[in-house]
Symmetry: C2
Subunit: 146 residues, 2 copies
DNA sequence: CACATATACGACCGTTCTAGTCGCAGTTAT
DNA sequence: ATAACTGCGACTAGAACGGTCGTATATGTG
């Protein structure tokens, strides 16, 4: 019911960690997992997905690990989330791919599509760089114009 | 992964239906369910939840049914969704209720809280009345100020 | 070259959440 | 009184998610 998966959560934590330690050596999944008290194997799995989408770069071998492949200001929260959880769709039938058996009759499809768009806007406007800035009294990352 | 539950979907459909037929007789769960090809018992369950939160008013007995208890412009999508699915929280630990075992170390909690707030804003700014207006070329219900 | 250490990948379980059903009690119009 | 309807809670089946494990593979080091 409208919740981020834990894996996406972990992904954001990992990416933010890498952003804060940019320029340092590569971090192994183990290292990051220990830092936040998360299962190492699970963190590895999450990082694999991020590597697959080229958000982080994996380096094999001993003293290997992961590094950001882009600048933190160029990575949006949406990228990280959808890399792990797949595309963000608030309903199953916003994509017109006909999985909704009542496409004709369903009257809320179009309004929800617009809401979905708004949420995508919110998520894509938040960058990892913003999430890493420690400024706590920034009033609000995104505000609404009605 | 960030999806509206089907029940919330059905709830929105039902509320919108009632909004469009305001002033008519009360609609039974059966009637609405048939109209959209949805399981009647499930629709009944959804409407019960909406009635519990006083979004719709139930009328017992024969020729009974449901009616909106408020003006469609006074009902937000957020109200309907959270009535059915519970509070909208994108992570399990935004509420400070300490179910996150790594509250200290978790570095993404605060940024995500802000994102969550933005989404709540989006959802609460969309009313049933807006969803019922048939204007298709309204550019966007909500836009972003960055 | 051989070894230690790292990721890559996929199969695999247990638990939790969701969709959907059923039966019974309570309420109202006729 | 009775028929038709909702209210409500327990219940089942199935999918999704969180998390683990084992194996294959790549790489730096002695």
């Amino acid at each position: 019911m409208f919740k981020l998966s834990k894996k996406a959560d972990y992904g954001l934590i990992a990416v933010k960690h890498l952003a804060l330690h940019r320029g340092d050596h590569a971090f192994s999944a183990n290292e990051i997992a220990e830092e936040y008290g998360i299962s190492a194997t699970l963190m590895a799995k999450v990082l694999q997905k991020l590597a697959h989408k080229s958000i982080v770069a994996a380096k094999h071998g001993s003293s290997g690990g992961y590094q950001l492949s882009k600048d933190p200001s160029q990575i949006s929260a949406l990228e990280v989330i959808s890399a792990i959880d797949g595309p963000v769709l608030i309903t199953s039938c916003v994509t017109n791919h006909g999985n909704c058996d009542a496409t004709e009759r369903c009257s809320v499809k179009e309004p929800l599509r617009r809401v979905n768009e708004s949420i995508l806007n919110v998520l894509s406007s938040v960058t990892i760089a913003q999430m890493s800035s420690e400024d706590p009294h920034e009033p609000s990352l995104v505000a609404l114009r009605t």
